[in-house]
């Protein structure tokens, strides 16, 4: 269990704008993902936990130990924190063999035990054949496994991973995810993982913290966040929604309904508590929640006509991009049946509509 509550200010510099990190979160067993765009302060947060950077204020607790406390003047050196760190570029010592890299991490242990532990990890991470090689002679996947093994060999209380899948191709990514799940099951070490890849967050994360400009803007399970983004900001960061500007023209709490004006068309949605008549808001709807059909006379309820501008055939679905920036995702079979439509209408579900 790690509890972080830290602040750090960076004054503006000629080459960089001012930046302030101000985050608070708890993470227990399992994988917690720090998700956000570049420059959101994700790696900086990891560096503060590992002790490479000292925050200005706040406190970091790992299990029952205080790693950092500005008020009490506690700031343990990185050596004493026992947080395994898997660096973005692996940071395997280039002048040491893989075996020496692993042994370096447990230098304090007696020789025989060290030997045994190193062999155990080499076997566990399928590195037996390359144990005597230096990092530049290893493949990307081997380096990745070695850096995880090195971070784990000293039995850390927390494992920090900084964009571990960066630069790996799809099969290696899949392998890495599988490995991390096994590591999670076997070593029971809580994992804090930094990424800006949404699929990765869903693949691994039990908890997810969305970061932007040095703040945590939403936290929860990846599914819950994707279902209910808390703000337009979050919805934009996730990048999986249609965000359409609408005006609320009718609100009816008794019947749990509302009317939204999108351009010249009206949509019917559920009642939106907390919003007022006349509010200009963002309609947030997933591309796969929309359906399309051929235009047949005037559009029906919750249907709006639109011009098809682009078709992207993806491996598992087809993305249709319409005028007005509306994206719709349909299964390939559905697209096949409709690809000769001259004019299209998009149907919005009444229930799945959310405004932000």
């Amino acid at each position: 269990m790690i509890h972080v509550r830290i602040r750090k200010q960076f004054p503006p510099r000629p080459d960089a704008a001012a930046f302030s990190l101000d985050v608070e979160f708890k993470a227990s067993c399992g994988v917690t993902v720090l998700f956000g765009p570049s420059g959101a302060g994700k790696t900086l947060t990891l560096d503060c936990i590992a002790g490479f950077t000292a925050p200005d204020a706040g406190r970091i607790m790992l299990d029952d130990e205080i790693l950092f406390d500005a008020q009490a003047g506690v700031c343990l050196p990185p050596q004493a924190r026992r947080c395994g760190y898997v660096f973005q570029n692996y940071a395997l010592f280039p002048h040491m063999t893989l075996r020496q890299n692993l042994a370096f991490a447990i230098q304090r242990k007696p020789r025989l035990e060290r030997h045994r532990r190193v062999n155990e990890m080499i076997e566990r991470f399928r590195l037996t054949d390359v144990a005597g090689r230096k990092p530049h002679e290893l493949s990307g996947g081997q380096k990745q496994r070695c850096s995880i093994a090195r971070a784990l060999i000293g039995s850390p209380r927390l494992l920090l991973l900084d964009e571990p899948a960066r630069g790996l191709d799809a099969p290696l990514r899949a392998e890495l995810y599988e490995l991390l799940r096994q590591v999670q099951a076997e070593f029971q070490t809580p994992i804090l993982l930094v990424t800006h890849d949404l699929d990765e967050s869903f693949e691994l994360g039990e908890e997810m913290l969305i970061m932007r400009s040095g703040r945590v803007v939403q936290s929860g399970s990846p599914k819950a966040i994707a279902d209910r983004p808390a703000s337009v900001e979050v919805a934009r960061l996730l990048g999986i929604f249609n965000l359409l500007p609408v005006e609320i023209v009718q609100l009816n709490p008794q019947e749990n309904s509302s009317r939204l004006r999108l351009g010249e068309f009206d949509l019917t949605g559920p009642y939106f508590p907390g919003h007022m008549l006349g509010d200009r808001v963002w309609l947030c709807v997933r591309p796969d929640a929309l359906t399309v059909s051929a235009r047949d006379g005037s559009p029906g309820a919750n249907q709006i006509p639109a011009q098809l501008q682009r078709v992207v055939e993806m491996p598992h679905s087809v993305r249709l991009e319409f005028s007005g920036g509306i994206r719709v995702e349909v299964p390939p079979s559905q697209f096949e049946a409709q690809k000769h439509n001259r004019e299209w209408v998009i149907s919005f579900p009444q229930e799945g509509l959310r405004v932000l």
Binding site: Q79, A91, H95, F104, Q107
Partner: protein, 221 residues
Amino acid sequence: MQIDWFPLWLSLRVAGIATLLSLLLGLWLAYLLANRKFRGKEILNSSVTLPLVLPPTVLGYYLLVLLGRESPLGQLYEWVFGTPLVFTWQAAVVAAMLHATPLVVISARAALESVDHCYERAARNLGASEWRVFWRVSLPLARRSILAVMVLAFARSLGDFGITIMIAGNIPNRTQTVAVAIYDAVEAGNGDVARMLVLVISVLAVSILYVANRLLARQPA
């Protein structure tokens, strides 16, 4: 032509010892300047590079005052080793060291600072003490540059004239290094001896620089 080779051997010996000592001292200072934050860091930085710009005679004068028989340090040396330091070949070592150390500090600092920080962070993260981080990670990763620095330090130690003549003097067969011997030979009109020594020392210097450049050029990625 009768050439006395003693100055050459003395120079090589003095330069060898001075290289080792200036490497030790220089690495320590370079480490402090590259890794630590402390008060007076800039003052230390400037005073370390001072010997590069001061006239050698001024440096020699400082050393004479600092290590002479009347000074506390000189007396301490005399008490420990039983003989005074000034005007011995050991004084030539001190002179060569003073000549070479600034170069070592500047180059070694650059070499240490060019080591990617992530390796040092990784080492600390894995529980290595600062001492271990330096000896097992920073230094090996900078080893080629440090070796080049060592070679250059040797060349520079070999070439000192001004400081040596001030503090070690020009005593044939005792403190006369090559640089001093050449000066002596020219003064005495021994053109052949001077030419020979100049030739030898030039060839030596060129070879040393060649080795140093090779070391620096083949820097692995």
